[in-house]
């Protein structure tokens, strides 16, 4: 059995957009390798290309050039539907602004990724309760998102991202909408998850947050700056 050296390899990846008639390069050229179990912070100013990089890593945004290999899988060689299966199996995404489904309760939001897995209701319930305990929201399982504070919503978003036990967790500005105390709690939670073996890639513009990651990648004008 061949064990991949790196969990994620980004090779010569570039992404161009057409802005009217002008070709804009969001990512000029990037080569990044991320090992299994790493906690990587991607830092850069607004418009630097860090969120584009995250969406490419998540199999959500086809790069203009280059390859993204995850666990020996060249994800942009897959069809759109195969890539959806890949996301379901490999990736958990924590969106900026939480992005919970407003008409589903906390528990239903957490169970959302399991709706397409074919897991039995009992198993789903156990897994949902397990992550609810992990994020400390077991007593708010039946609340709707708009009945929660920002920090609680962020924790629901994290719970939803990890419920299927994906090997990779992508977090887009997970503390961007939170006060410093709540942000600290969220970072602690992410560190805890990383300790448990989860590979975490976190995008942020806040250098303070990157202090908590094992490695920080700086992005500027669509290129790695250090």
């Amino acid at each position: 059995m061949i064990i991949p050296q790196n969990l994620i390899e980004i090779k010569d990846v570039g992404k161009d957009y057409l802005d009217g008639d002008t070709l804009v390069s969001a990512i000029a050229k990037m080569d990044i390798s991320i090992d299994d179990g790493e906690f990587v912070g991607i830092m850069g100013q607004s418009g630097s290309g860090k969120s584009t990089l995250l969406s490419i890593l998540g199999g959500l945004n086809q790069p203009t050039r280059g390859r993204v290999v995850v666990d020996t899988l060249d994800i942009y060689e897959l069809s759109s539907e195969q890539r959806a299966d890949f996301r379901s199996e490999y990736i958990g995404i924590i969106f900026q602004s939480f992005q919970l489904i407003p008409y589903l309760t906390v528990k239903e939001n957490i169970k959302l990724p399991m709706a397409i897995t074919g897991l039995k209701a009992k198993t789903q319930e156990e897994m949902a309760l397990n992550v609810l305990n992990k994020v400390g929201l077991e007593n708010k399982a039946n609340r709707l998102p708009d009945q929660l504070s920002g920090g609680e919503q962020e924790r629901v978003a994290i719970a939803r991202a990890i419920v299927n036990n994906p090997p990779i967790l992508l977090a887009d500005e997970p503390t961007g909408n939170l006060d410093s105390k709540t942000a600290g709690e969220v970072i602690s939670l992410l560190k805890q998850l990383n300790k448990e073996g989860q590979t975490i890639i976190m995008v942020t513009h806040n250098p303070e947050m990157c202090r908590h990651s094992g490695r920080t990648i700086h992005v500027k004008d669509g290129r790695l700056s250090s």
Binding site: A84, F86, R87
Partner: protein, 385 residues
Amino acid sequence: MKLYHISFNNLRRRKGKMIFLVVGLLIGIATIVALMSITDSMASDIEERLNRFGANIVMVPRNDNLSLSYGGITVGGVSYTMKELDEADLPKIRKIKNSMNIGIIAPKVLGIKKIKGKEALLMGADIEAELTLKTWWQYAGTLANSKKELILGSEAAKTLALAIGDIVELGDSQLTVAAILQSTGGQEDGIVIGDLHEIQRILGKEGKISLVEIAAFCRGCPISEMTLQIAEKFPNARVTALKQAVMAKMQSIELVKSFSYGIAGLVIFIGSLLVFVTMMGSVNERTREIGIFRAIGFRQGHVMQIMLLEAIVVGLIGGVLGYIIGSFIAWGVIPYVIKGGTFSGPDFPLGGISIILAVSLSLLASLYPAHKASRLDPSAALRAL
């Protein structure tokens, strides 16, 4: 958690949107159900009226002699030596297999008699049945339903120089001209009509009948078979179906139906357009949500399933409520649009069709929006986050 939980929860917790969609379908289905029910009642009413509007089966004695045309209908021979039917046998007509479809039976006796020195064709008939059958007859004068009354065709009145109130001597009877028919352009313009039994007595044909006109009508009932059934009971008679009359009746009903189908089609189109526009709006509103679904690994088919399941639920609710409300509307409206009309009760096949129609329309109108939703590029959808 299954995909249907997402659909149900969306509909349950976004009541405003669901109510709007359901109401759109409900209006369409209720209109169709009400229109169909009212049209059905109208068709029945027209049928009933048409039953009384002229005969469609004529029975005459089997005769090899001359034939005489009457009312545009070629009837059996009427001559001094012609054969007659027995009046006592007429109740047999109501004993045929399709007796339920028999409306009015109008027996007649015909004969020639001199009035004021001129030969006139006398027709003895059941005046009440005749007037019910010949609703196009217009007359001057007043009928008191007396055996001693005569009704004159317009030509007969002119030729015989008779007016309302004149006394006519026929054999030993003195009969009063009670009414004169306005010209119809038919054979009745030239005849003298009196009470069946009185004319039978005057002509010396007691208990005899020259021809019988029968009004029989039902939706799709077998007129040809009915003529055979009557012919079996009367081996000495020739029974003829006037298919033209049946066809005319059917055409009148079909005309009313076509009109209502046209209106129903228009309402269906508008209803579907409403669902389509709302569903398209819903897709645009839910771009963010669809982006999240796709980002966490939902396939295009999963997104389609969620949206189409919502469409099925909306269609089901809209169909059931539309059918119930449409039936109530028909129940309330029928007495006003049809004199003496009543709602014939819930039409369950129509209910089934309404629900299937509502679900199909909802699905059809949602197909493109659902397809569009499923094809949303997750990265584009997420850019809206």
